[in-house]
């Protein structure tokens, strides 16, 4: 049955979720060496509190938060700190991190701390507990959750949006978490409602996940102001701004935050983790990751200790010989990987592996025929056609000043629909990078 999309633009790629959505979450073993970066979130890196040679329990504090926009890092396994040194990261640069060698026969038991009891804790204490647990947005952005909850004076949350709209193809982590951790989500939601004093909460899911959302609703005790909204499946509905548009028919002002329209948006897996960790005073040491794609022998959802090297993870699930491409996240926005030696961190919700068959590697490119498909598909109503033309002429300043390049969040819809196969979003990324470099240069000049 066809239903009208709840926001303008977007695309409907093949979902490819059937392979993994029916499979229960499986626990991963420990890799022989875990790579735990100090920066796994948006903000300032954590400060290490252990030394080389220290022995730690699973869940013990490895690094403490450095200020407001930072979260601590906990030991993903019981083991010995081998080194504190540089390690490879997703972005390509080497970053500071802790090499942790799990003890042989280490258990999955996590050390408990001082619990934060829902009925006794104040709003401020709950927010502090969320920071102490090291919780960040598990949907991908890895923005510290407590920072969203510490509101500037005068701002109020009217609607707490629990984001279960998993719009990227292949990924089913949020779906599995909703199916298997309904009680955790319920508890997490109650913590959050208390912490931000929201009037109501809504769990937003796409068509394919209606059953999971219904399960969460069933587990909710009476009196909690929760409703479920099932939206027609449409990429990139899970993007915060578009979800707000779909649910509230309101737009977050450019340069503003969801709270400007009274909304607070938190990923459903993050909510589940809050409900799972806070009562026991634990820190986050693992997360659910979808590993899927045609090059994976045993696709599914796995609970993986943070810091597990990707290579180890891929060996566990088995790879086809023809593996040619791995990216983190879904195929629409997923970051490509040059190396398999990077660790799984808090913001990684899945990875997908392709064989050459999926690539369409040498697809030719045609000239832009001005068809306007990209303009219709752009969920934030930019003009990718014009932006692409300007990018190819190096007019990056015009792109920003007259065509609002800053508003592009690189969802990739324009490149997905382009019949000329022009790499539009890729050109926009390059243009943004050039603008960043130019602004860095002018700042340098000013300093001298």
């Amino acid at each position: 049955m066809w239903r009208r999309s709840a926001f303008a633009g977007g695309v409907t790629p093949a979902p490819h979720k059937a392979q993994t959505r029916g499979l229960p979450i499986r626990q991963f073993p420990f890799a022989p060496l875990l790579l735990v970066p100090l920066l796994q979130h948006a903000g300032r890196p954590a400060l290490a509190v252990v030394r080389e040679g220290d022995e730690v329990e699973r869940g013990a504090l490895l690094a403490r938060a450095d200020g407001e926009l930072s979260v601590p890092v906990h030991a993903p396994a019981a083991g010995r700190v081998r080194r504190i040194a540089l390690m490879p990261s997703l972005a390509g640069a080497m970053v500071e991190g802790i090499y942790l060698e799990p003890f042989a026969g280490a258990t999955q038991e996590v050390r408990a701390g001082v619990g934060c009891k829902l009925d006794r804790a104040s709003a401020v204490e709950i927010v502090d507990a969320i920071q102490d647990a090291g919780i960040v947005g598990l949907g991908g952005a890895a923005f510290p959750t407590h920072a969203k909850l510490r509101l500037a004076p005068g701002l109020r949350v009217r609607m707490l949006i629990v984001n279960g709209a998993e719009c990227e193809p292949y990924l089913t982590t949020d779906y599995r978490v909703m199916i298997e951790q309904a009680a955790d989500i319920v508890l997490g939601m109650r913590y959050l409602l208390k912490a931000c004093a929201a009037e109501q909460a809504v769990l937003a899911v796409e068509d394919g996940a209606a059953d999971a959302a219904a399960g969460v609703l069933d587990a909710m005790p009476a009196g909690v102001p929760l409703s479920v909204r099932t939206l027609p499946a449409r990429y990139p509905q899970g993007a915060e701004k578009l979800l707000i548009k779909a649910l509230l028919a309101a737009e977050v002002p450019a340069g503003g935050l969801p709270i400007d329209v009274g909304a607070l948006c938190i990923n459903v897996a993050t909510v589940a983790e809050i409900g799972r960790l806070l009562p026991h005073g634990r820190g986050i040491v693992e997360r659910v990751v979808t590993i899927s794609g045609p090059a994976v022998r045993d696709p599914g959802n796995y609970r993986i200790p943070l810091g597990t090297p990707l290579r180890f993870a891929l060996e566990q699930v088995g790879m086809h010989e023809a593996l040619s491409r791995v990216f983190l996240g879904g195929p629409m926005m997923g970051q490509p990987l040059a190396s398999l030696d990077v660790p799984i961190t808090k913001g990684i919700s899945g990875f997908v592996a392709f064989t050459p068959a999926e690539q369409g590697a040498t697809a030719p490119m045609w000239p832009c025929i001005h068809c306007g498909r990209c303009v219709s598909a752009c969920p934030v109503q930019l003009n990718p056609c014009q932006l692409g033309l300007l990018a190819r002429h190096g007019e990056v300043d015009t792109m920003r000043e007259r065509f609002h390049l800053d508003q592009c969040f690189e969802c990739g819809c324009c490149a997905y629909v382009c019949p000329a196969h022009i790499p539009l979003v890729q050109e926009f990324r390059a243009a943004k990078a050039e603008l960043r470099r130019a602004s860095a240069r002018s700042n340098d000049g000013g300093a001298r």
Binding site: P331, G334, V352, P367, H370, S376, V380, Q381, Q386, V425
Partner: protein
């Protein structure tokens, strides 16, 4: 494992594609035009077939010669589409050498000089046709054929095979012509039965006569999301509204709405030429504006000029303002309501 380590392909997201491609777009236009072409050959016989073949070949050949050696742009299919549409807009008994010259002009001046596919400001097929209109006005307004003549499958009209630059046999244009319905109405006050206009059993350009087949082809393109539906809807809608008003005002001078919609080049223009993506606006608001403007121009030229038909000029003028429409009607980005651009 070693082989894999070396073999990871790195490409930025998105890692999947929706699957449309430029040749796919062109292929659908050809599919939508096939019934029209077959019908033209049935109604006008060998003459129509010869026109379509020569028009298509001349466009394809011109494109091949224009692009530097070693590169072929024929694979995108746009020259084929231009050639077919161009052929369908020509009078069926037009001398074939003129067809070939106009085809060359369409591709060389209409497209390649602008930088090839995607660069042209005007619809190339119409550039070819407007050139012929200016260069050979007598032939372009006289080489009509009456529909369904005897012997149309066995012989070509005398004008078709005329030698280049030699005037065809005196008066042969007049011998041939069944006047087009619009010309008959404008100059002689003769009404063509509506059923013939709808089905296409009337004199006219090779592929413009059958309103119903063009409409079906256009619907197919809309359903395949190949063309912007707002353009034909705005264009035909504005023509219908204004014509209805004119007809009510003075039924003796202005034909009724259905006759207006089904006659001349309106249907082929609205569905297949005004919708040329390269020369039409990008946004939904732009498409409405552009269709509306062309529709008003069509009515104006038909009603107030010395010519019976104005679709060609109306679309070319629409093409000329399309970039300006794009500039005026930029989309409003998310979260920027009420802000100055």
């Amino acid at each position: 494992m070693n082989r894999r380590r070396a073999g990871l392909a790195i490409a930025p997201a998105p890692h999947v594609h929706g699957g449309t491609a430029v040749p796919w777009v062109m292929l659908h236009v050809v599919i939508a035009l096939l019934p029209v072409c077959l019908f033209a050959c049935y109604v006008f016989g060998l003459a129509a077939l010869a026109i379509l073949v020569v028009a298509t070949l001349s466009c394809v050949l011109a494109e091949r010669l224009c692009v530097r050696s070693g590169v072929s742009t024929l694979g995108d299919g746009s020259a084929l589409v231009t050639g077919l549409i161009y052929g369908l807009t020509l009078p069926p008994a037009l001398p074939l050498w003129m067809v070939a010259v106009g085809g060359g002009v369409a591709i060389v001046i209409g497209k390649c000089l602008f930088g090839g596919l995607g660069g042209n400001a005007f619809n190339p097929a119409l550039v070819g046709r407007v050139f012929l209109q200016a260069a050979f006005p007598a032939a372009m307004t006289g080489c009509w054929l009456a529909p369904l003549t005897e012997g149309r499958f066995s012989a070509l009209p005398a004008t078709t095979l005329a030698w280049p630059l030699l005037a065809p046999v005196d008066g042969s244009y007049d011998i041939l012509s069944g006047a087009t319905p619009l010309g008959a109405w404008k100059f002689a006050g003769v009404d063509t039965p509506l059923v013939d206009l709808v089905l296409g059993f009337s004199a006219g350009s090779t592929g413009e006569t059958s309103a119903v087949l063009l409409f079906v082809g256009g619907l197919y393109l809309v359903m395949m999301r190949v063309v912007e539906w707002r353009i034909p809807v705005a264009l035909l809608g504005s023509v219908a509204l204004v014509s209805a008003g004119l007809h009510l005002h003075d039924a003796a001078r202005h034909p009724d709405v259905l006759t207006v919609l089904c006659s001349g080049g309106l249907m082929i223009g609205a569905w297949f030429m005004a919708t040329d993506p390269v020369a039409s606006p990008l946004t939904a608001a732009g498409a409405w504006t552009y269709g509306l403007a062309i529709g008003l121009l069509v009515v104006l030229i038909r009603a107030a000029s010395g010519q019976p038909e104005g679709v060609m000029y109306a679309i070319l003028l629409g093409n000329a303002v399309a970039p300006h429409i794009d500039r005026w009607l930029q989309p409003r980005p998310y979260g920027m309501r009420g802000r100055r651009r």
